[in-house]
Symmetry: D3
Subunit: 257 residues, 6 copies
């Protein structure tokens, strides 16, 4: 029991011991969002939780329960709120959740945070929530908190992307429910991937601005923004290996572990 990296799986005395040992705490922030006809709604929960757990295991940290609902999906990055199943929080709500969780953990003695974002649209509500928590903790007399905040997909070797996209990486913008996420899901939860349902109505061609309401046809009907064809577990493992090793290295560097 005590060797679990998941905070939910340990007792309070075990939590207390870890906190006193100043281990880093990972807080994955996910989403419940459409990911095409071949991937489940929970992709943005499974992936950051998996990565965070692997990193935590490497550096001796703990993973707080993943926040399973994220900020509103945007058409240009996740297809938008109109897709059935995409279930989201207002920005203020998500910021308050992050604020409350980080604040409470800080009151319990956690001093090293790694917020692991798994849903592009979460970035800014997390930034705000974390900032609010840090300010409140300071007012509570706790001013020695250090926090990293990251998107896990930013931790990848250039060479890996070159191997994955020999014709050039199209950019993370369109990588929703596409090659990267599909490949990683083939590692993390292959039982939830149906490669036969991979659509071919992408890639999306978005304008350089948001448009409300979303014009018909702007977002591919499948919800897959780029291409998921060619996804394999092998490629997924390359990515996960990069994410885990690079984040772990950054965590060790920041916290002197």
């Amino acid at each position: 029991m005590t060797d679990s990296v998941f905070m939910a799986e340990i007792t309070w005395p075990e939590f207390d011991a870890k906190t006193r040992a100043k281990v880093p705490f990972f807080l994955p922030v996910g989403a419940t969002e459409q990911h095409g006809p071949h991937l489940p709604l929970g992709v943005d929960v499974y992936l950051p939780t998996h990565v965070a757990a692997k990193v935590a295991a490497e550096v001796g940290g703990l993973v707080a329960p993943t926040i399973p609902y994220g900020y509103k999906s945007q058409p240009r990055s996740g297809g938008g709120q109109a897709f059935p199943g995409t279930t989201s929080l207002a920005a203020h709500t998500l910021s308050l959740v992050v604020r409350d969780v980080v604040h409470d953990l800080g009151l319990h003695g956690v001093r090293r945070f790694v917020i692991v974002n798994g849903h592009f649209e979460n970035t800014w509500p997390i930034i705000e929530g974390l900032d609010l928590a840090i300010r409140e903790l300071r007012r509570d007399g706790i001013d020695d908190v250090t926090a990293m905040r990251l998107e896990y997909w930013d931790f990848v070797h250039r060479q890996t992307l070159d191997r994955l996209f020999p014709e050039g990486f199209p950019g993370t913008d369109l990588e929703h429910a596409s090659l990267l996420e599909t490949s990683m899901m083939l590692v993390v939860r292959p039982d939830l991937v149906d490669m036969e349902k991979v659509p071919s109505d992408g890639p999306a061609r978005f304008p350089t601005y948001d448009r409300t309401p979303v014009p018909p046809g702007m977002v591919p009907a499948s919800g897959v923004l780029a291409r998921a064809q060619g996804s394999t577990a092998e490629k997924g493992q390359w990515l996960i290996d990069d994410h885990v090793s690079l984040i772990a290295a950054a965590v060790r560097r920041e916290f002197g572990l």
Copy 2:
């Protein structure tokens, strides 16, 4: 894949089909809270999720991702916020989360909700969040939503309690990390229960009022409010069977299933 009851495990077209079929949606609301030295911090997530999934399987419903952080633990019902690991949301935050999730599901066509509370202190923030969602949906032109809101532990046969407590049921108030929860955890996540660590510093004797700050000695140091000795998987199964069958019956009755 498509036979999963977990919304996170299905695709958006599958979600859409279920929604159009007007299946009931279960939203478990949990907590991350101390449960003594023998139970993990995630008890209030594991138990309502388990019950909701069983009921959903029986009645053909879906389970939305469990909200893993709940309202602030109170000394008289959960030991209070001072216990290491108890990580909670402000009442307003939790209400907003429930509001946003129910509202978004309603916009997607969900019309039958069952909010399954797994943490005593959540009751009222859930009531408020649900009320806010229903009001907003009505303003959005959606006025045919029906919602049940329940504490799963209220669904138990009198006889079961008599079998469990031959000397008389002490009441749910003190049943935190005690016989009921421990027994059910021996069914749901036995790997996370350490019966050897069951403490014996209870039961708590609380006054008939809240007192802030909590006086030293009021809450048992272990965090277990009543007694966990004698917990067995068999007893846990009795409870789960009651919870599942009685909730399923109520759901069928309310929704004419």
Copy 3:
């Protein structure tokens, strides 16, 4: 003038003297809610104010103005919001009111609070409001506040209930506009009780869950959840005597008075 226990009836120098003397401050929190055809909408204001004033007189305290609007009435405990006249605050609003009042009193030097709840549904918004106030006061450098928070009806001798309900106490859940409240109103404001209008459409038989919208017939049409027949001023006096003496004893014990 100076012997009034009501803060509203004394001057600021008198308030200041009492505050410096560290007397306990009572804050009754009421509601404006239907109480059947025989009781007025203000029952939940009159009763906790009366009890608080009696206790304050006994222990030398002051009673702050009663908050006259409470949290939304629930069908299973107060009939629900649909009853004409039931006029309520959102949970967040009520919590903010409690927060602001306690915070301001704390800034003025009040260090001993007794929040006297007179409306079942208020419990949790009060808990949150009080917690917010205590946290803010601490940030303002005031960390020596002690607060009791109670439902006045919990302070009753077992024997009294036995005398009142020789056939067994049905529980406080259904005691809305019923024997207890009616009897006490016959003491506190007999001019506002019309025993001839006492209905007989109860008691309510509620399921073990909330249901939105409220199904027709679930709540007795009168708004009286149990039975009010047999209410007398004598019985009301028994209750009030219990409430006052037991709360006074608890206050004295907590504050060493």
Copy 4:
């Protein structure tokens, strides 16, 4: 019982009958604020409640429970928050209270509102709260609400002021705890007025701007901003007569009563 103008004193069927009859509802908004060494903290509750009740009796209306806590006292109009006993709400809190109360009454069928302000600083939070309520009611399909919002002291004949201030009316700005309020309190609650404690450290001489923090000496130490000497019940009656008759006339005119 049924002839009470106070909503708190009537039953829900009586409330319902009045509402269906479209009688005007008066909502007094008060404060708990220092009023010098000779007047109690509740002046701003007693006076608007009294006026509202008299007007309601004249025009056949009902008076909702007075909101007993108001917006933060300002040095130039009420002495400021530093005076012991002055216990106030944040602007947002007060606006939410007004919003919730008006909104709920509107849902119950009230269509004619008269918000009677009894505390200068409340004006703008009331304006906002009323506006929010009207907007929400409109979204709920209720668009035929009419509301008056007033400061009761604005309803006075020029001649009355001339009689009261033969040397010229100094303006309402400084009339805090001074001649007008003291005289009216001698009518409404003479038992709470101690004319022997009337101070003579005023009138205040304020600059034409707010200054934070309040400079020492700016506000008279007594909290009385102008002069209370010469206050009599007779003068108070002149004022109350004006307030009642002029407000009643305006109410009749607006609502065609």
Copy 5:
């Protein structure tokens, strides 16, 4: 460059030098509101910005960017929200803006604030926002802030009003888009004044209370509440001279400059 009084026009090292020198910071708060057919929507931005800049130049201060949206226009003071172009913030929003700006400036070392209101309806949301900022700064350990808060139009010599209104000053209440504002605009932005469009449908005759919805005919159709005829740049200069010199004198006095 460095001699600009506008914070927006200087660099951060210049800002830093000024802050360290403890110069007063002026924060104009304006509005975007109808001002009749002869004045532009930006009057309440142009005028306080102009006055603040002149005062800042005299006393060696800096002017923060003017908040260009103010609180909701009221019928009796600005014609009300129904006039096309009147674009406003909720009270809570405006208070939060003022809170955030003052708080951030305080964190950067500003210790002397002069909030210059240019829109009557802003007064109370500014009061609240400033109070919130001061409280938060104190919690952040900054307790030596001094702030003045003023309406610029209150700084005028009696003689000037007598010269402007030989038949008696009608009071600031109706002075919306009328003689004072029109005359000053003829100084500050004469290119935006069209004296040929000055209407003659005023002055408004308002009751002594607010009325929602606004009855037809209550507000002059032009949006000009009093009279703008006779406005001249000369008169405007008298006013501006008074405003600038009197505010500058007050600022010098308060801050010992």
Copy 6:
């Protein structure tokens, strides 16, 4: 007067005529933020206002007053909040401002919005504020609003970037107070640019994550993240021409102008 594109400079009847003509409304959202020792704090106000005005002139639109305070500066994109002069709003505050302004304009009949962001960190609070406004307008019965939301710097020809950065465009991430902004300021407000103060302590080398608190040395001491050397008005004009022509083209396309 009537040919001004600035809403602040026109009268309400002119605004009304434009609104009825369904012209697009531009809402620039800026910031008050450090931009190195050579650029003023108002850069993020001047540039989007200038671009919006030029586009509005081309397409016959109106420009609402620029929101002059933006979301908190982040170390990796703007140097962070610690730089003197950077004065920002909380995310919720900014979202509420955008919500209120768009909502009010919508109530006045505006149906075509173009939100022009001039500060990278504003993107997501604007997205939320716009979404809230659209939802509220829909509840108010207004469901035919179309809105574009854009960062002006995204509208640039590839060739222009190639001309500006012959050695390769380093990406917009570091382009804070650097070549692009400096060059454009040399067009828009050359009087506020001091090329002699252009620093050479960049470019910043940021990790792929946020780190709180900001480690010493991470952000260049000057606040300039990349390089500003080589900035010229000519280059600035290339950029502005691109921004204006490409945004105008998009606006025409979306609105069929």
